[in-house]
C-alpha cells in the first residue's frame, strides 16, 4: 500500500506542477492601467469611474496570428483598434485623412502623391515615415506574408507582378520622395486609387520592427511581448495567441480624437451557447460573429441588427445566359419577373439583418434616381413565359450555391414562386458544384453568390459583378459578355469620381443588365452588429473593421 500511496502522491504532485506550468492564458485580469491619469477624464455622471470602462469583445474564431499584414480572415477583425489606415472612409463612403493628411494625382491618374500627417506617430513616439509606408506595402506583396487581398490595392502598382511572384522584395512603383511624402506610380490610369487604399488592411507598420534583412516579415514581431509600435487609438499590453486574446489600453501617442474607453479585452469564445450567456451576463459586450438558431430569442432584434454601410454585400442569384432555357431572353425574363425578393428575404431572414434586394446600385446611389427593379411582376412573367421557346420542353432548373441554411430557404421560396407563377416542376438545389457530375455542372442555370465593393463607387461594383472580365461574370454567370455593358463600364472607370458622368454611365450599364435579365436580387447584406444595447458608437465596414474606434463607448449603467 505504501507504494500505491507513493504513486498516487507522485501523480498528485504532477497535477500540481503541470497546473502551475499551464499557461494562465485567460485568467481573470485586473483592469488594464490607463496611460493617462483618471483625473484628466471628463466626468460622466451616470457611469462608473473611467478606470472601469473596459469593453469586452469576443470572437468565435481563435486567432493565433495578429499580424496586421494578413489582409483577411478572422485575424484582422480588430485591426482598426490598433492600426491606423492610410486614409479612412466613413459609413457614407466619404474619405478622411488619417496617416495621409493630403493626396493628389497627376492629370492622367497614373501617379499619386501622398503627404503624411506630421502629427502621425507610432505608440513609441517615433514618426510614421514614408519609408514605413513603402516598406509596409512592399511587405504586403511578398508571398510568404500571405496577405489575403493585396491585389485589390496594389495590383496596378508598377513592379507588383514581380513582387507577388516572389521575384522581388521591392516595388519600384512606390517611391519615397522625402520623409513624409510617398509617390505611387501605376501601370494604368486609376481615378479611384485613393479610395482603394482607404482601408485598415494596409495600414503602415514600423518597418524596422516588421521586416527582416531578407525582406520578409519577422515572426511574431506584432506580439505584445515584443512591444510593437502601433499607430491606432489603442495599443496591446497583453496577448495570448493560444487563446486568441489581447488586452488593449489607449495609445498615449495617438494623434486622433481621444479614445473613450480605458481598455478593451478581446478574446475567443468558440462555443455559441457560452457566448450567449456571457453577453447576457454582461461578461461580454460585442461578439464579432455569431449565428445560433436561438440568437434572436435570446438576445433580441437589436443584437442581430446591422449597420448598413455605404458598401453593402449583394446576395444575388446570378443567371447563366448561355445554357437552356436561360439562353432565351424571354425565358430569363419570365424567371426573373416571377421572383419576389421581398418574400425570399422574409423567409430566409425573418429578423434581418439587411434589406431585400432591388437593383445593383440602389444602396450605392440611394439618394439619387436609380433604375427600377425588374422582379415581382407575375403577370409580366406569365406573358414572357408564353414567348419562351422552352415552354413546352423545359429542362431541369439547377440552383447552385445554396451553401448555408438561409440560402437554402431563399432558393426554396424562389423555386416555389417559379412553380406558382410559371408552373416549373423539375428543379434541383445544389450546395456545391462538385456535387454534380461534370456534364450536369455545365447545365447549371442559376448560381447564388455574393458580390460587393469595398470602394464607395458604382462603377467598381459593376466591375466586380457584370463586367465580362469579373470573376462573377466568368464563374457564376457562365462567361457573361454584353459588349455594350462592358463599353459603358470601361468608359465610366476612366472618369474621376468627381465627374457625374461616371455614375451616369454606371446607371446606364446597369439598365442594360436589368433589361438582359441576368440576375435575381435576394438581399443587401451589411455587417451584422452582434452587440449588446449598452455599446455605443459601434459600426463596422465591409472589412469587418470598427469604424471610428476612438468613438467606441459603453454605457455602464445599462450593463448587468
Amino acid at each position: 500500500m505504501k507504494r500505491i500511496s507513493s504513486v498516487l502522491t507522485a501523480m498528485l504532485i504532477a497535477v500540481f506542477v503541470l497546473s502551475a506550468c499551464g499557461t494562465p492564458a485567460t485568467a481573470p485580469v485586473e483592469n488594464p492601467p490607463t496611460e493617462k491619469p483618471a483625473a484628466t477624464e471628463a466626468p460622466v455622471a451616470t457611469e462608473a469611474p473611467a478606470a472601469e470602462k473596459v469593453l469586452t469583445i469576443i470572437d468565435p474564431v481563435v486567432t493565433k496570428d495578429f499580424s496586421p499584414l494578413r489582409g483577411g480572415g478572422p485575424t484582422v477583425r480588430q485591426l482598426s483598434l490598433w492600426w491606423a489606415p492610410p486614409v479612412w472612409a466613413d459609413m457614407k463612403g466619404e474619405l478622411h485623412p488619417m496617416v495621409f493628411a493630403s493626396w493628389s494625382s497627376s492629370p492622367d491618374f497614373k501617379v499619386w502623391t501622398f503627404k503624411i500627417d506630421p502629427k502621425a506617430v507610432f505608440s513609441d513616439g517615433s514618426p510614421i515615415t514614408a519609408e514605413d509606408v513603402k516598406g509596409t506595402w512592399e511587405l504586403c506583396t511578398q508571398p510568404l506574408t500571405k496577405h489575403q487581398r493585396v491585389s485589390l490595392f496594389f495590383s496596378g502598382v508598377v513592379g507588383y507582378d514581380e513582387a507577388v511572384a516572389g521575384n522581388a522584395t521591392t516595388l519600384p512603383g512606390i517611391v519615397v520622395k522625402d520623409a513624409s511624402t510617398v509617390e505611387v506610380t501605376l501601370k494604368a490610369s486609376d481615378p479611384i486609387f485613393v479610395n482603394r487604399i482607404a482601408t485598415n488592411l494596409i495600414g503602415p507598420v514600423k518597418i524596422s520592427q516588421a521586416r527582416g534583412a531578407d525582406g520578409q516579415e519577422i515572426v511574431d514581431w506584432w506580439h505584445a511581448e515584443n512591444k510593437p509600435a502601433v499607430s491606432g487609438p489603442y495599443m496591446p499590453v497583453a496577448m495570448d495567441v493560444e487563446t486568441g486574446s489581447v488586452e488593449f489600453v489607449p495609445n498615449p501617442n495617438w494623434w486622433g480624437p481621444k479614445p473613450k474607453l480605458t481598455g478593451i479585452k478581446y478574446f475567443a469564445m468558440e462555443d455559441g451557447a457560452a457566448a450567449i450567456i456571457m453577453l447576457k451576463n454582461g461578461e461580454a459586450d460585442i461578439n464579432m460573429h455569431s449565428d445560433m438558431p436561438t440568437t434572436f430569442d435570446e438576445l433580441g432584434a437589436e443584437y442581430v441588427g446591422t449597420s448598413m454601410p455605404a458598401t453593402p454585400v449583394l446576395q444575388y442569384f446570378w443567371i447563366n445566359s448561355n445554357v437552356p432555357p436561360m439562353d432565351d431572353l424571354n425565358c430569363r425574363k419570365a424567371f426573373v419577373m416571377a421572383a419576389n425578393p421581398e418574400e425570399m428575404f422574409k423567409a430566409s431572414h425573418p429578423h434581418g439583418p439587411g434589406e431585400y434586394g432591388t437593383t445593383l446600385l440602389k444602396q450605392l446611389l440611394g439618394d439619387r434616381e436609380t433604375n427600377k427593379p425588374t422582379t415581382n411582376n407575375p403577370e409580366g412573367a406569365k406573358a414572357a413565359f408564353e414567348l419562351c421557346s422552352y415552354k413546352d420542353a423545359m429542362p431541369k432548373i439547377y440552383v447552385a450555391g445554396t451553401t448555408n441554411p438561409q440560402a437554402e430557404v431563399a432558393a426554396q421560396v424562389l423555386i416555389e414562386q417559379w412553380r406558382q407563377v410559371l408552373g416549373i416542376q423539375e428543379t434541383e438545389m445544389v450546395p456545391a458544384m462538385d456535387k454534380l457530375s461534370v456534364a450536369d455542372q455545365a447545365k447549371v442555370q442559376v448560381f447564388r453568390d455574393d458580390v460587393g465593393t469595398r470602394v464607395f463607387d458604382a462603377t467598381s461594383l459593376l466591375l466586380g459583378s457584370i463586367y465580362s472580365k469579373s470573376g462573377n461574370a466568368q464563374a457564376k454567370m457562365g462567361g457573361y459578355l454584353n459588349a455594350a455593358i462592358d463599353a459603358l463600364i470601361e468608359a465610366a472607370s476612366a472618369l474621376p469620381p468627381s465627374d457625374p458622368n461616371r455614375d451616369l454611365k454606371a446607371l446606364e450599364a446597369e439598365k442594360l443588365a436589368l433589361e438582359d435579365f441576368v440576375f435575381i436580387p435576394w438581399y443587401d447584406e451589411g455587417p451584422t452588429m452582434h452587440m449588446m444595447p449598452w455599446v455605443l458608437n459601434y459600426s463596422r465596414n465591409i472589412d469587418w473593421q470598427i469604424v471610428e474606434p476612438w468613438n467606441l463607448d459603453i454605457d455602464l449603467s445599462k450593463r448587468p
Partner: protein
C-alpha cells in the same frame, strides 16, 4: 525493469514513424490544398494553381516537392527537435505544442484523480451493497451520466450554474486546476468516464469477495473494513488501474470537444485547427505528442502492475 522500459520504448519508434507516414499521406493526398485553404478565408483573390503568387508561396514553403521528399525532410527535422512552422499561423509548431501540452495533461491528470478518488469508492460501496438501494442508485446514476455526451453536458452545466443560478463565471481558457474556471470543465471531463470506473470497481470487488482468502479472513473474525481495505482492495486495483489507463488515454487524446466548448487552448484544439487548415506540421506535431503521452500512460500502467501484484514481476522480466 529498465530493460523492459527500454524495449517498450524501442518498439514505440517504428510505430510512430508508420503512423506519421499514414497521417502525412492522408493529408497530402486527401486533405485538400493547404495553400488554397490558407487563402480562402475571406480572400477575393483568385488563388489557384498556376497563379504566380500561388506557385511562389508553394515553392517558398517547400510544398512543391514530391511526397516522400517532404516526409523525409519532416522526419529529419523532427529527429533534430524541429517540429517545423505552422502553415496556418506561421508560428513554430513547438511553441504551440509546449503551450498546449501542460494544459491537456493537467486536465487529464486532474480528471483521472477525481475519477479515482470518487469512482473507486463508489464502485466498492455499490459492490458491498449488491442489489440493494445504494447499489441501484450508484449504478443507475453512473448509467445516466454515461449517456450524456460532452457536447450536451457542457452547455447544460453552463446554463445551470452560469445563467439560471449564476454562482460561477462562464469558464473560458485555462488558468490552472485550482481555479473557479476549472470547476465545470473538470466536472464534464470526469463525470462520464467515472461511470466506467465505478462499474469496473464494482465488478472487481464482487469477484474478489467470492475468493477463498476473503472467506478465510472473514472466518478468522477480522473486522469487515479490515477485510475489505487490506485484503480485497489490492487485487481489485489491478483491473481498475487498467481501466484508468484507458480513461486517461481517452482524456489525453479525446479532449477536443471539451477544449472547444470551454475555449481551453489544449492539444485537442490544435488538432482540430490542424485538420481544418490542412496544416501538416501542426497535425503531425500533435500526433507525435499524443502518441508519446499514450505510450507513457500505458507504460506507467504496466509498471504499476507489479506494485499491486508481485506475481506479475516475473511476467514482465520475460517480456522483451
Amino acid at each position: 525493469m529498465a530493460r523492459y522500459i527500454f524495449w517498450r520504448l524501442m518498439r514505440w519508434i517504428p510505430g510512430v514513424i508508420f503512423l506519421l507516414f499514414i497521417v502525412y499521406a492522408l493529408m497530402f493526398f486527401g486533405g485538400g490544398d493547404p495553400i488554397q485553404i490558407m487563402f480562402s478565408k475571406e480572400a477575393t483573390d483568385a488563388f489557384l494553381p498556376g497563379n504566380p503568387r500561388y506557385e511562389a508561396v508553394k515553392e517558398q514553403l517547400g510544398l512543391n516537392r514530391p511526397f516522400l521528399v517532404q516526409f523525409g525532410d519532416y522526419l529529419w527535422k523532427v529527429m533534430r527537435g524541429d517540429f517545423g512552422i505552422s502553415l496556418n499561423d506561421s508560428r513554430p509548431v513547438a511553441k504551440s505544442l509546449f503551450a498546449a501540452l501542460p494544459i491537456t495533461v493537467s486536465i487529464a491528470l486532474s480528471a483521472t484523480a477525481i475519477i479515482a478518488i470518487v469512482g473507486i469508492p463508489l464502485g466498492v460501496i455499490a459492490a458491498l451493497n449488491q442489489n440493494r438501494w445504494p447499489d441501484n442508485l450508484i449504478l443507475s446514476s453512473a448509467l445516466f451520466f454515461w449517456g450524456i455526451p460532452t457536447f450536451v453536458a457542457a452547455p447544460l452545466l453552463m446554463m445551470l450554474f452560469c445563467w439560471q443560478f449564476p454562482i460561477l463565471p462562464v469558464p473560458r481558457g485555462w488558468a490552472g486546476v485550482f481555479t473557479v474556471n476549472a470547476i465545470i470543465p473538470l466536472t464534464v471531463a470526469s463525470i462520464r468516464p467515472m461511470a466506467l470506473v465505478i462499474r469496473q470497481a464494482r465488478s472487481a470487488v464482487l469477484d474478489v469477495l467470492s475468493e477463498d482468502y476473503i472467506r478465510t479472513a472473514r472466518a478468522k473474525g477480522l473486522p469487515e473494513w479490515v477485510t475489505i481495505i487490506k485484503h480485497a482492495l489490492r487485487p481489485v486495483l489491478t483491473p481498475v488501474i487498467t481501466q484508468m489507463g484507458v480513461v486517461m488515454t481517452n482524456l489525453l487524446a479525446g479532449s477536443l470537444l471539451l477544449e472547444i466548448v470551454f475555449g481551453i487552448p489544449g492539444i485537442g484544439r490544435l488538432i482540430r485547427d490542424g485538420i481544418l487548415n490542412n496544416d501538416y506540421s501542426m497535425l503531425l506535431g500533435c500526433t507525435l505528442v499524443i502518441l508519446a503521452l499514450v505510450t507513457l500512460t500505458n507504460l506507467l500502467v504496466d509498471i504499476s502492475y507489479p506494485l499491486l501484484d508481485p506475481r506479475l514481476k516475473q511476467a514482465q522480466r520475460g517480456d522483451v
